[in-house]
Amino acid sequence: MRPSDPFFYLFALLALGLARACVCSQHLLRATLYLAGVLFCGAAFYVILDAEFLAGIQLLVYIGGISVLLIFAIMLTRGPDLLKDRPSPLRRNLALALSLSFMGLCSFLVLRTDWPAALPAEPHENPVRDMGVRLLNPGEGGLLLPFEVISVLLLCVAIAAIYLARPGSGEERPLS
């Protein structure tokens, strides 16, 4: 038993509970808060997996950016009808059956598979620096191209979002 193992179970239980609450809650704003909780647990998982930098990014982007944006969007749009989301029993049972069978099948495969033992560890003095170097390295094992692609993508998304949500867009291009 490693010292991090109890934390794994603690956060796993928390994440599962919050995820269940998130998909089942009829109240969208609360569901968003639960989602923030799940994402926070995600950051905790990254810490357990020795990826502190990733945990920080997860907090910054998911909690600071995405959760806040989601809450903003819910607040900006009106109506109590938006806040209640109650599926029909048939739909619920079907979804339950489907997701449970997916879970069962995959678990079966996971438990049946013989997982190889861990390879020897690659030591890193400063993983954050090494990641940065990898990201900006055009050569062997470098990720400069995907990095640039995703930068362009983010820029496009930012412009597209501003275009879509700019004031008056609703009247000019009615969606109906």
Binding site: R78, P167, G168, S169, G170, E171, P174, S176
Partner: protein, 384 residues
């Protein structure tokens, strides 16, 4: 066809149509809200942070003062006039006094008129000082509030020595003044005026020159001269819109005809002009007080026996004068008794308030606070 009367319910309809893209909603500013300085209720129709419409709703501090006046003697009415615009109690007293004196044919002497003018000007300073502090607070700067109150406090104590009251003065009475001046009055006023001259400059440094304050005021809530006249606005609000109408100058009363002063007039009628006009009025009043305090003639201060009952002849009388916030008028209908048959006040704040309905649409929530502060409203004066 009967003319349609708009009720509050009609006004409360939102113009929301599906597919419109925007959504309007109502917010109650008041009756308990820090920016309305009293129990004034403004219904704001908002779209996001932008104002679409402002609906003032009055009546939360209605006390029926005009009705009460019908059962009071003329001396008692003076007392009630304090309770309208409590920051210009002396001017209100004076206006009631003037209408009663004119109806009863009471002549006053030079000393009484000089003291009345001096007191009215000092109160203008007191009122504007308070306004300046509250104005700063409404813009979000809390420090001016306390500086304003600090300077007002000394003046209030000077008033207290002579008059015996701090807010509800009841000092200017038909036939003269309630008391003669306190023996320390002149030196204390001189010292205060000397001190206050530097304070006005300090106000300028503290708030007027501030970049944020200017950004919040310039070109916000512009009201043209015609609109101001149409809405019945008076006082600094009207003069900021470029109409040089000051009763002290156009229809002098008291000893104003012997005095030399400039009536500050704005150009655009925005919040900044209203601010600037009041600051400039402070400087002018300061100079007036400095002249007046040196030239108080000797004489009696009460020409009527205090116990005497004042009985006015039948008729209708009207007098008006310039209070710190605009024209205050008293309309008196007498049927020959010692009490009026009908007594009506024309209060400046009620008319000034209605300017907000003209200047607010299109502005932001924060702007309406700056506009209200610029109009310098006293709520008990509107509701009476």
């Amino acid at each position: 066809m009967t003319p349609k009367t708009l009720t509050l319910q009609d006004l409360l309809r939102t113009d929301f149509a599906p597919g419109g893209g925007t959504q309007e909603y109502f917010v109650n500013m008041g009756p308990q809200h820090p920016a309305t300085h009293g129990v004034l209720r403004l219904l704001l129709k908002l779209d996001g942070e932008t104002l679409r419409q402002v609906i003032p709703v009055l009546g939360y501090i209605h006390r029926g003062i005009e009705k009460i006046c019908e059962h009071q003697t003329y001396r008692q009415i003076v007392h009630l006039s304090d309770r309208l615009d409590y920051l210009s109690a002396l001017a209100n007293n004076w206006c009631v006094t003037r209408v009663v004196e004119r109806a009863a044919g009471i002549e006053t002497n030079e000393r009484i008129e000089t003291i009345r003018t001096l007191m009215a000007e000092l109160e203008r300073l007191q009122s504007h000082t308070l306004w300046w502090g509250v104005f700063g607070m409404d813009l979000g700067a809390f420090t001016p509030f306390l500086h304003g109150f600090r300077d007002r406090e000394e003046l209030t104590q000077i008033f207290e020595d002579t008059i015996g009251a701090r807010l509800t003065m009841n000092y200017i009475q038909p036939g003269g003044l309630l008391h003669d001046l306190h023996k320390d009055f002149a030196p204390r006023v001189r010292a205060w005026l000397k001190d206050f001259g530097t304070k006005v400059d300090e106000y300028d440094r503290m708030l007027s020159g501030n970049l944020i304050a200017q950004k919040r005021l310039v070109d916000i809530g512009a009201l043209s001269g015609d609109e101001a006249l149409g809405l019945g606005a008076t006082g600094p609000v009207l003069r900021a819109s470029g109409v040089p109408w000051d009763l002290r100058r156009v229809r002098p009363y008291g000893v104003y005809d012997q005095l030399d002063f400039v009536v500050p007039v704005g150009e655009k009628g925005d919040c900044w002009d209203r601010y600037w006009v009041r600051i400039e009025e402070m400087r002018q009043s300061l100079a007036l007080c400095e002249t007046l305090i040196e030239n108080i003639p000797e004489g009696k201060t009460m020409l009527v026996k205090p116990a005497a009952k004042i009985r006015l002849p039948e008729g209708t009388f009207y007098e008006e004068l310039e209070t710190p916030r605009g024209i205050f008028g008293v309309h008196l209908h007498s049927r020959g008794k010692d009490m009026p048959w009908r007594f009506h006040f024309r209060s400046p704040n009620l008319h000034n308030l209605w300017c907000i309905t003209k200047i607010a649409p299109g502005a932001r929530v924060a702007d309406i606070v700056a506009m209200l502060a610029g109009l310098d409203l006293i709520v008990p004066d509107m509701d009476r």
